[in-house]
């Protein structure tokens, strides 16, 4: 789309949407939000970028290679955290029993493995949304 106003405003707004998404993911254990909504916000910001600047430029920012790594990495991070609990405490996905720090409830760094799992879910959901959109919008000649 060759509209100057739309492209300028998009370039200004996209970083703030992504910042808000990261904020929601990281504060998933002390306020409403979490991996699903924050990941969907980040994915929506990338969809907005794709709609305004086209698939070619968007794939330079977020290529197939990166999305492959993000999709597998989200699940693998989740399973790795679960396996730590399995090795240390004997059951899959153990939180405080496996020695994750509890911290002070209400602080940003607290609640053991919950923020790490939220980050994994966020990466997974964001890359899923953007990959599904790219797959659906791609024409045959790409």
């Amino acid at each position: 789309m060759n509209n100057l106003i739309v492209s300028t405003i998009t370039r200004m707004v996209v970083p703030f949407i992504q910042l808000y998404g990261i904020y929601i993911i990281l504060h998933g254990h002390i306020s409403p939000g979490g991996g699903f909504s924050g990941g969907a916000l980040i994915g929506t910001s990338l969809i907005l970028y794709t709609l305004v600047f086209g698939v070619k430029k968007a794939e330079k920012k977020f290529s197939h290679r990166v999305s492959e790594i993000a999709e597998s990495g989200g699940i693998l991070l989740y399973i790795a955290v679960g396996l730590i609990g399995m090795i240390v405490a004997g059951s899959f996905l153990t939180n405080l029993g496996a020695g994750f720090p509890k911290g002070t409830p209400g602080e940003l760094i607290s609640a053991g493995m919950i923020p790490i799992l939220m980050i994994g879910i966020g990466i997974k959901v964001a890359s899923t949304m953007i990959t599904l959109f790219h797959t659906l919008i791609e024409e045959e000649d790409v």
């Binding site: 969907a40 929506t44 709609l51």
Partner: protein, 79 residues
């Protein structure tokens, strides 16, 4: 709060009927987006802010964009 709840329920039923009636699929998608957004407000009234955030981002945002992408690749009017 009850008045707002009842009004939102009536609006939701009207929006769902409008989705059912509209022959133009693009218009139906727009009405469906409004439906999802009102649903998110209703969930805020029912004191579940997590679900409201998720619905506003996924239901009203991503789903409607995907519908519009598919309509742009296929046909717009229902027979």
């Amino acid at each position: 709060m009850t008045v707002l709840n009842v009004a939102l329920v009536i609006f939701l039923i009207l929006a769902a009927l409008a989705v059912e009636r509209t022959k133009d699929l693009l218009g139906a998608v727009v009405v469906f987006s409004a439906f999802s957004l009102m649903m998110s407000v209703l969930w805020l009234i029912l004191k579940t802010p997590d679900v409201a955030l998720t619905e506003a981002a996924i239901g009203a945002g991503v789903t409607c964009i995907l519908f519009i992408a598919v309509i742009s690749r296929t046909e717009r009017y229902e027979k």
